[in-house]
Structures are given as structure tokens and as C-alpha cells.
Amino acid sequence: MTDMSQSESVSGQSKSVADAERTRKVKKRYAAERRFKFYGLLAIALALGALTWLVVSITAQGYTAFVQTKVELNVYFDPQVIDPDGNRDAKILSKANYAALYRKAIRQQFVDVKSRRDRRDLARLVSSGADLELRRMVLSDPSVIGKRVKVWLTASDEVDQFHKGAFTRDLPEAQRQFKDKHIGWYDELVKNGQIEAKFNTTLFTSGTSREPELAGIWGAIVGSFWTMMVTLLISFPIGVSTAVYLQEFAPKNRWTDLIEVNINNLAAVPSIVFGLLGLAVFLNFFGLPRSAPLVGGLVLALMTLPTIIIATRAALSAVPPSIREAALGVGASKQQMVMHHVLPLALPGIMTGTIIGMAQALGETAPLLMIGMVAFIVDIPGGPMSASTVLPVQIFLWSDLPERAFVERTSAAILVLLAFLIVMNFIAVLLRKRFERRW
């Protein structure tokens, strides 16, 4: 500014100096703007890059888990083994030694394998869960008994991994359990077209297992479902009513200020602390069952409450005062104003907040470890009281297992969890778009 007044006092030549000065400043401003834009783009590119890397690496590791290698065997459903009395009693059928059937089938194919040890190893090309598959076949259709049928059976995880190329025959024999003789048998089966990768239904239909080829995430999904149900049923009504009361009815004084500060702080409490609280209160004090979705849901509800309350309050305060005045002006009571006008208008925002909160809860692991949802549970949970685990905990458990085949399954489970989260967030975005401000 002082330059300007000086240059004014002189004039002529100094006027062009002032012009040059101004041009320089404009240029500087433009440059600053460009730089700022560049930083923004750079940040976005970095974030997108990290995200892409994450998704690509998980997908690259996990996509193979969606198929499972199967072995085709010519199984003779021997009546002597399955049903010696011939009366087709379901009890007897379900107790038969089905493992003997597929073992016999594979030994018949490789008649030149003689030693006891090799014969045992040969049978291990097929998953130890294959007997269940045969049993299921017989139970659903007993007419196969006495027939010779070509059946696709789940291969063992070593065959599966070798077939998918997780390791190759170049690997020194000492470093793999899948020995050269196994590879020989495998080659023979491949030559006959008896090995094929098929869609892995097991992954989506069964609970976890020690055998990777038999392990699925359905148990964890159902457990997550029950947990989320409990969380939603508890946190949504409590959260919304709390927010409505605090935002619309509560007097503004020191107490409500204190409550508000505490709610905001609660949102920042580490989740493991909620787990400890659940352990101390729900398990030890109230004696609720360990590993149950009910308790998991309660703990996650506590964790989700602040998210829902804060989102609901924001949505309520975004409803313009003119609508409130309009309602009050025609003689609506405060409660009618809230119920008829404010709450319906705030609902999309509330739903969005709730879905985001639920998505957060769905991915939560730490607090559930504290209340025993980390147990190894094979059965599909039947309800909120039965022992179960949840998806993220299942992922955590699988990531710890030594079998090579669990690596891809862990990644696949992560992909499924991510898919759920993306769907939930997508619904939240959709809701927000669909019910955008209408005033």
C-alpha cells in the first residue's frame, strides 16, 4: 500500500511500475491457485492409488478361493458297506463308512500302488470331507446304492493349491508336503480329465473347518447377521430417541452440555474398551452366554450409539427452522411438530448415519475378541444365543492358520466383507441422493 501512495505522488513512468507490480501479483495469485489445485489432485491420486493397490492385491490373492479343485472318481456304492441289511434305514445309512467307498475307488484306479503307506497317501488326494459328500448323495437319493457312479469329490487342499499353481514342481521336494509321487498321481488324474476347478460352494455354505477345502464363511456371515440385528434393534431406537430428545426437547443447560460432550467423547473411545466393558458387565455381571451374537450385538450397539446420535442430531438440525415455525404457527404441539415434520424430513440423514454406523460395527473385531466370539465354531449359529463368530473375526482367525490354502480363503473372506461394506455404503449414498433436500 505504501508503494502505491508513493508511486501516485510521482506519476508517469512510475505508473507503469505499479502496473508491472500488479501484473506480478496477479501472476503470483494464479500460480498459488494452480499449486493448490495440484496438491488437492495429488492427495486424491495418492488415496485412490492406495485403495486400488489394496483391492487389487487382495483380489489377486483371493479370487482363486472362489473355485475349488474337484476330483472325479468312479465310486461304487457298495451295499455291503452302506446298508448290509438292505432295509434302507436312514439311521444306518447315515452311520455307514463312506470314506471306505472313495478310498476303494481311487485305489482301484491306481492298482499298481502297493505299499500301505502309499495307499494311504493316495487316498489323501481326496479331502477328508468327501465321505460327507457321499453320505449326502445317498441320503438324498438311496437308489444310488449298488450302482457305480462317477462323482466329483472335493480334492485335498494340497491338490487344490498345486492345481491353482500356488506352488510348482520346481520347488525342491523337501520343501513341500506334496511329494513327487503325489504329483505323479495328480498328472495321471489330469490326463484322464479327472481334475477340474469348479465354483467353490463350500466357501459360501459351510462354517469354518481345520481343513481349508472344507472351510466356509457362511457360519461367520450368519453370526454377523445376528450380531448386526441385535446392534440395530438396540442402537437405532435408543440412538434416535436420545438425539431427538437432546436436539428438540432438552433444555440447554450445563447438564445437557455435559451429556453432549460425553457422547462426542464416546465416539472416540477405543473399541477394545467397549469389549472390556461387555466382558465385565454382560458376561460377568449379567451372566450372558459367551461367544453369543446377543452379547456381541450389545457391545457393538454401545459402540454405534454415538455415531447414530451425532448423525441424527446433525440431520435434525439441518431441517430448516421455517418448517418448524410453520408447524407451530398452525397450532401443532412441539411433539406433533417433531413427529409430523422434523423427523420425516430428517429420516434420510438418520438412515445414512445408521447405515454408516452399522458398516463400522460390521467391520469391528477387537471388542468381540474380549467376549469370546473368537472361538473356533464349526456350526452355523441358529440364533442370537448360540455360539458364533463374525466375518472380521473369522478373517483374523484364518489369517493365523499355517495352511497355504487358507491364505487365499482369508483374502476371499476379506473380499466378501468388503462387498458387504460397499453395498451398505452404496445404499447410504442412494438414500441421500433419493431424498435430497426438498425445500
Partner: protein
């Protein structure tokens, strides 16, 4: 025009210097009587000893520069100020002898009797029909659908909107133009059959043509309702009102017949404002 107006200060009480208001006995056709009304927002006082009579079936205009307290006073009449936590009202406001601030009085009943139209048109984001039907519904003044239909029709008729929206009652109220929205809001206020309608700068967000229509409507409504209108425009006050009150810095400076006020103001502040020296 209005011969019944009682001369201010006719009972001889001493008014503060320069304040020419309605203290003492109310005028004989007064619908609303306000005496010694003081309003505080927290520590700050917004109105000082306002004494004002509002005559029945007349339009009373409240004028004055921004922040003078005219809207505050208007909102006292149907207790819209209750919404503001820090707002306190002292003094007495009576509508036909009923104390508005009587703790036993049900504020919902009061607001059904004293309707309000706001500065910015604020229809509910619902259909035109539901906008008007909302009041009768919550007050339970109608018993059948046919009756409700009739109330909606007659309210639209009275607010001069019926012809324009007759065949699209189920369209959202927010799809109307600004002026139509404001008339919809008037229809909504009328639907609960109030005695008094308060209007808080109802035309400030409208164009001149829409404004003219609203003013025409106000003139028609005067036969049935007592209307109090806050306005920024002195021309508007002169056009639509029979009585005018001039507020300045929280004081009611002068109140008189509109004609009298605009031709021969007694207070120099009033004169200054209406001649455009400040405001």
C-alpha cells in the same frame, strides 16, 4: 374512516417524552390489548413498555427500521417467542380479555386462534391439499373426509388460490411460485379458522405483482379477520392498513390511524422515518 379510535393518552396518564401510545383504557373495539410489554433476550431488552390496542376487523401495520422490535412484538401475540429459550416476556397481552401469557392457557389453542404467516413462504414439503388439511387434522375440527375437502376448498377460495391449483391439489406445495406459496400459507392459516392473522413481512420475498395480489387478499380478509402485519414498506402500510404503529429502538413511538400517521405524524422520529430520512 375509523371514528372510534380513542385519542392516545386521553385518560391523562403521563407518557414518556415523545411516546404517543395506547396506555390507559383500551379502545372500545379492541381485539388485542397489550399493556407494558417488555421483552428480553437474555440480558438484552428488545421491547420497552409497549402499549398497543389492535382493533377488530382492521389491518394494523407495525412499521419501523430493522431491529426496532416490531417482529418481536408480533411474535408475542401468539407466543412464537416461547420457542426461543432465552426470551422472556413481561407485561400483559389480552385477546378478548383472555391473557395470552396465562400459564393455564394452552398455547396450541392460542395458535389455532391466532394464525401466522411468515416472511419466507414456508409450505410443508407435502401436497397442496395436505398443507391446508394439516391444521384441521391435528385440531380435530373436521370429522369426515368430505368436511375436510370443503375446508380445503374454502380456504383456497378465501386466499384466492383455488382457481390456480384446483386440478393439482396433490402436487407438492413447494412446486408453486413464491407468491402462490405465500397464499398457500395464508390458506393454511385460514383453514383452522383463526380470529387473528399475524403476518411477518409477508411480501418481502415476493415480486411486485405477487405483492399486489397479497395486498388485495389482505384487504378482502379484513372483513372476517383481525390482521396484524409487520412491513418494511411504508407504501404497503399506507395501502393495506387502517392503523399504524411505529416502533423505534424497542419503543412504540407513535400509533395512530394510518391516514393521520402518514399525513400528519406527531413525533419527529416518525416523521423522519416516513419521509425517508432514516430507516
Amino acid at each position: 374512516m375509523d371514528t372510534a379510535v380513542v385519542e392516545p393518552n386521553s385518560d391523562g396518564t403521563e407518557a414518556p417524552k415523545g411516546v404517543i401510545d395506547d396506555r390507559g383504557e383500551p379502545m372500545e373495539n379492541a381485539k388485542i390489548v397489550a399493556r407494558d410489554v417488555n421483552v428480553f433476550y437474555g440480558e438484552k431488552q428488545a421491547l420497552f413498555d409497549v402499549n398497543l390496542d389492535i382493533p377488530e376487523n382492521r389491518v394494523t401495520a407495525l412499521i419501523g427500521p430493522s431491529g426496532c422490535g416490531k417482529s418481536t412484538f408480533l411474535r408475542c401475540l401468539n407466543r412464537m417467542n416461547d420457542v426461543i429459550d432465552i426470551c422472556r416476556v413481561k407485561g400483559r397481552i389480552e385477546i378478548e380479555g383472555q391473557d395470552v401469557y396465562d400459564p393455564a392457557l394452552d398455547v396450541v389453542q392460542l395458535r389455532a386462534r391466532v394464525g401466522m404467516v411468515f416472511q419466507k413462504p414456508n409450505p410443508f414439503p407435502k401436497s397442496i391439499y395436505d398443507n391446508i388439511a394439516y391444521g384441521p387434522r391435528i385440531h380435530g375440527t373436521v370429522t369426515s373426509k368430505a368436511e375436510l375437502d370443503e375446508v380445503v376448498r374454502s380456504s383456497l377460495e378465501k386466499s384466492g388460490l383455488l382457481k390456480e391449483v384446483e386440478d393439482r391439489l396433490d402436487e407438492p406445495g413447494t412446486s408453486l411460485s413464491g407468491g402462490q406459496q405465500q397464499r398457500l400459507c395464508i390458506a393454511r392459516a385460514i383453514a383452522v379458522s383463526p380470529d387473528v392473522i399475524l403476518m411477518d413481512e409477508p411480501c418481502s420475498a415476493l415480486d411486485p405483482i405477487a405483492t399486489a395480489r397479497i395486498e388485495e387478499l389482505i384487504e378482502n380478509l379484513r372483513e372476517r379477520y383481525t390482521i396484524v402485519i409487520v412491513t418494511h414498506s411504508m407504501q404497503q402500510a399506507a395501502r393495506v392498513s387502517q392503523r399504524t404503529a411505529f416502533f423505534h429502538l424497542g419503543n412504540l413511538v407513535e400509533v395512530d390511524d394510518t391516514e393521520q400517521m402518514f399525513t400528519n405524524p406527531r413525533d419527529e422520529r416518525t416523521q423522519g422515518y416516513i419521509t425517508g430520512r432514516y430507516g
